[in-house]
């Protein structure tokens, strides 16, 4: 099957790639655009490790038909840091031991980023709801929830 052209914005960079028709966006990001931050845990929507933001809203890239990303704005964990400066969520995850094996982390960070973009001062329940589509097999979730609340506080100039 002939490949087809696809263009989109990835973390502020214009990307043009050729994709096999019927590819999912996760494959296109990893193999086509070389962004290895989104992970494939299940390829069926269950784990959330592939979560990216499309036009600011969380989507599962493994279940997104690549052709439907044409012209859209995609954000991944690869675009969170500004130069050497980590995003406050990344710092909080690191300092709060919210990542162990790290396989879920990129998806968790994107779900958390979408939450804080809309709701800068979330309650604990709102955080739990926001990451309810993301599985973690290592941490037991509590350190992740704490890290997101810590980052929210930092970004608001408070201490958690």
């Amino acid at each position: 099957m002939a490949k087809v052209p696809l263009t989109f914005t990835l973390n502020d960079a214009e990307i043009g790639v050729f994709v096999v028709p019927g590819s999912n966006l996760l494959d296109v990001l990893r193999r086509g655009a070389g962004d290895l931050t989104p992970k494939e845990g299940c390829a069926q929507g269950a784990c959330g490790a592939c979560t990216v933001l499309i036009d600011g809203v969380p989507h599962l890239s493994c279940l997104t038909l690549a052709e439907m990303a044409e012209g859209r704005r995609i954000s991944t964990t690869g675009g969170l840091a500004v130069g050497p400066e980590l995003h406050p969520l990344q710092t909080a995850f690191m300092e709060g031991f919210a990542a162990q094996c790290g396989f879920c982390t990129a998806g968790m960070l994107m779900s958390a980023k979408a939450l804080l973009d809309q709701t800068p001062n979330p309650t604990r329940d709102q955080v739990i709801e926001a990451i309810s589509g993301n599985l973690c097999r290592c941490t037991g979730y509590e350190p992740i929830v704490d890290a997101i609340l810590t980052a929210a506080a930092k970004m608001q100039g408070r201490t958690a």
Partner: protein, 263 residues
């Protein structure tokens, strides 16, 4: 497997392109899983650039474009009575992607929204202009390959409509069973519609129980006859969530809780 993806500017053109081996894609949460796991039953995917995700009051009902996502339903005040259903479907990303149109085709254990629409006697509007009641739509959906453009749902009060999703993993596990009720009447029940999800290949009505509720009140003795026959006509299956035996055993328990829920 080699797939082709075809993009059409309008829903009408897309509807003409779908067929035996060509599937329309809504949010893709079910279709792309099939693609990722090598489903060989289709080889063309049909995209429409025109998508109807509007939700608006129309006459006595609320019209929901088939392209509306669960998140769109949750953002709509007009569809407020359906919020308890949309809220429990998947996690946030699934709700941002999964559409009302796609839910009408979701096989057990999915189809929670379709279960609610069946209880509410919604009408399904097809691209060819035909309208079908939910019940006949569901019974023919595996043979029919038409494009759904919208559903129209009678506007009901939050008091008349009740919904429960019973799942083993909270908050986002799939349904072991879903129950939707539309109860009319004050004090006594004049009319009841009861739909069960994941108690058969499609959402199904419990007609014997509906009959047995008519003229009764919502008390333990009033509903006893309905509970006794609530599995009549249902076809639960064994799956990794529960056995058919277990589903039949607990259906009256969950129906009872929902009927006697104080509000």
């Amino acid at each position: 497997m080699s797939l082709s993806v075809e993009t059409y500017p309008t829903l009408r053109e897309a509807s003409q392109a779908i067929g035996d081996r060509a599937r329309y894609i809504g949010g893709g949460t079910l279709l792309m899983r099939a693609v990722n796991y090598g489903d060989q039953s289709f080889d063309r995917i049909v995209i429409s650039r025109e998508i109807d995700r509007t939700i608006r009051n129309e006459g006595q009902g609320v019209r929901i474009g088939a392209g509306a996502t669960m998140a769109d339903v949750l953002a709509s005040r007009d569809a407020g009575f359906l919020h308890p259903v949309a809220r429990v479907i998947g996690g946030p990303a699934v709700r941002n992607m999964g559409t009302v149109g796609g839910n009408l085709f979701a096989a057990a254990p999915f189809g929670d929204f379709a279960t609610a629409l069946l209880a509410l006697d919604a009408t399904v509007q097809m691209a060819d202009g035909q309208n079908q009641p939910m019940e006949s739509f569901l019974s023919g959906r595996d043979r029919a390959r038409g494009l759904v453009v919208a559903v129209t749902v009678p506007r009901v009060s939050e008091r008349e409509f009740r919904f429960a999703k019973i799942s083993r993993v909270k908050p986002k596990g799939a349904s072991m069973m879903a129950i939707a009720l539309w109860l009319r009447g004050s004090g006594r029940i004049d009319e009841a519609r009861i739909a069960f999800g994941t108690m058969g290949p499609t959402p199904l009505r419990a007609k014997a129980a509906e009959q047995a509720l008519r003229g009764r009140d919502l008390t333990e003795p009033g509903i006893a006859a309905a509970l006794a026959v609530c599995c009549d006509g249902l076809q639960p299956a064994d799956d990794p969530l529960a056995t058919a035996w277990y589903r039949r055993a607990v259906a009256p328990v969950h129906l009872k809780r929902l009927l006697l829920e104080t509000r």
